[in-house]
Amino acid sequence: MYGVSQTQFDYFSQYVFFIHRIQHLALHHVAAMLLVLANPLPVLAQGAPAWLRDNLITPVWRSGPVRGAYGAVQQPVVAAFLFVGLIYLWLTPSIHFDAMLSGWLYSIMNWSMALDGLLFWWLVLNPYPPDPAQHRIGYGKRCIVVAVVAFPQIVLGAYIFFYGTGVYEYYEVCGSPWPIDTDTDRMLGGLITWIPSAMMSVLGLLIVLSQMFRQEKREAERMGRDAAASGSTA
């Protein structure tokens, strides 16, 4: 996330459509997924100063509005809608034009993609077993959510690739860091929205399945141990 938003990569992202799409692929998909898989929250919570944890983080996290908002965005339908909706929102030509022109809107766009990426992949790849009380949905639902979001991205990416000529006018206005044909740029951007994004869903699906099998194995081992323990007691 740092690499695509705080380095010269961000400069290129502001003027070249396909690099902008790589930036969003990183913020919304790849980096967010990797962060969730690393599951740094327990370590960060342990590492936080006790006064901060006890007086601010825990009370705020347990407060009604925060729990309510978290519960709402972790609803599978809402999460999938937000995930796809944000991609479509920021790629709506008029909104995209404004977001690329305006410094503050550009920041909101990138922040929203990064935060939503974290929330979405946290819902799908949560390392803990399903628990409705903690808004952790079952593995079946995780599979459906991660698969469903692939299709609208494929449609949008293919549309940009095949029919997007002149749609993103900003790149014809803003200049480019090196002479690049705007149509080539647009087609590359469409391909990135189309193929790697959909592949991230496949990857996500495989990870969910592996989590599910591991969980089932753990459950089976636990039941085996329980049975052995009750057998030896008898």
Partner: protein, 208 residues
């Protein structure tokens, strides 16, 4: 306690969903901009005019020099084979169609992003070729980068050919500023003449 808190969470959820939907709706509505300008309205998107550059007489000049005038600003370079001369000719054509009083209230700044080749003399003869209201400006790479970054455009240089010529990629939009320096419109190559003229007249009206 647990069932009650679950119940509480369930009852609150739709309200939060509604809030989120409303907030996102408001954000989108807020981004829509006004409908009064006929080219691209950038009133709330771009900062006011600000720069330090060198003009076509070799003098250092800041945006303050143009306070009290409506300003059009365009980035280009004098060796440009197509977009720049075409745009300069279009601007000169628009100015010719405006009432004289409005025309005198508008200044056009042609900012060259190719300072190596565009010195003051070359800029002066280039702009004089199109219209007297057009002034050529350029600057150091640092000044030009600062200005282009401020208006979220960029430029770059292609490889030199055997004659030492090279292409320069630059923006194609024309920025319009009100007399108080506030950004108002971005005129694109696709905007039609009537829309541009209406906006130019409106920009001119911002001058007292």
């Amino acid at each position: 306690m647990k069932p009650r808190s679950m119940l509480f969470a369930k009852k609150r959820m739709p309200r939060w969903i509604l809030t989120l939907v409303l907030l996102s709706g408001l954000t989108v509505a807020g981004c829509g901009g006004g409908q009064d300008w006929q080219t691209k309205d950038i009133s709330r998107l771009m900062p006011e005019l600000q720069f330090t550059l060198t003009d076509e007489h070799g003098r250092e000049v800041t945006a303050d020099a143009y306070e009290g005038k409506a300003v059009l600003m365009f980035f280009g370079f004098t060796h440009c084979p197509d977009v720049c001369p075409a745009t300069m000719a279009r601007i000169a054509g628009w100015l010719g169609q405006l009432p004289e009083a409005d025309r005198e209230r508008i200044r056009v700044l042609f900012v060259s992003v190719d300072p190596d080749r565009d010195d003051a003399e070359r800029l002066r003869s280039y702009t004089a070729h199109f219209h007297e209201a057009i002034t050529g400006l350029t600057g150091t790479q640092e000044q030009l980068r600062r200005l282009s970054k401020r208006y979220r455009v960029t430029y770059g240089y292609g490889d030199k050919d055997e004659n030492g010529d090279y292409d320069v990629s630059h923006s194609a939009g024309i920025y319009g500023f009100a007399a108080n320096g506030e950004a108002r419109v971005l005129i694109r190559q696709s905007d039609d003449r009537e829309a541009v003229l209406a906006d130019l007249e409106r920009l001119a009206k911002t001058v007292d």
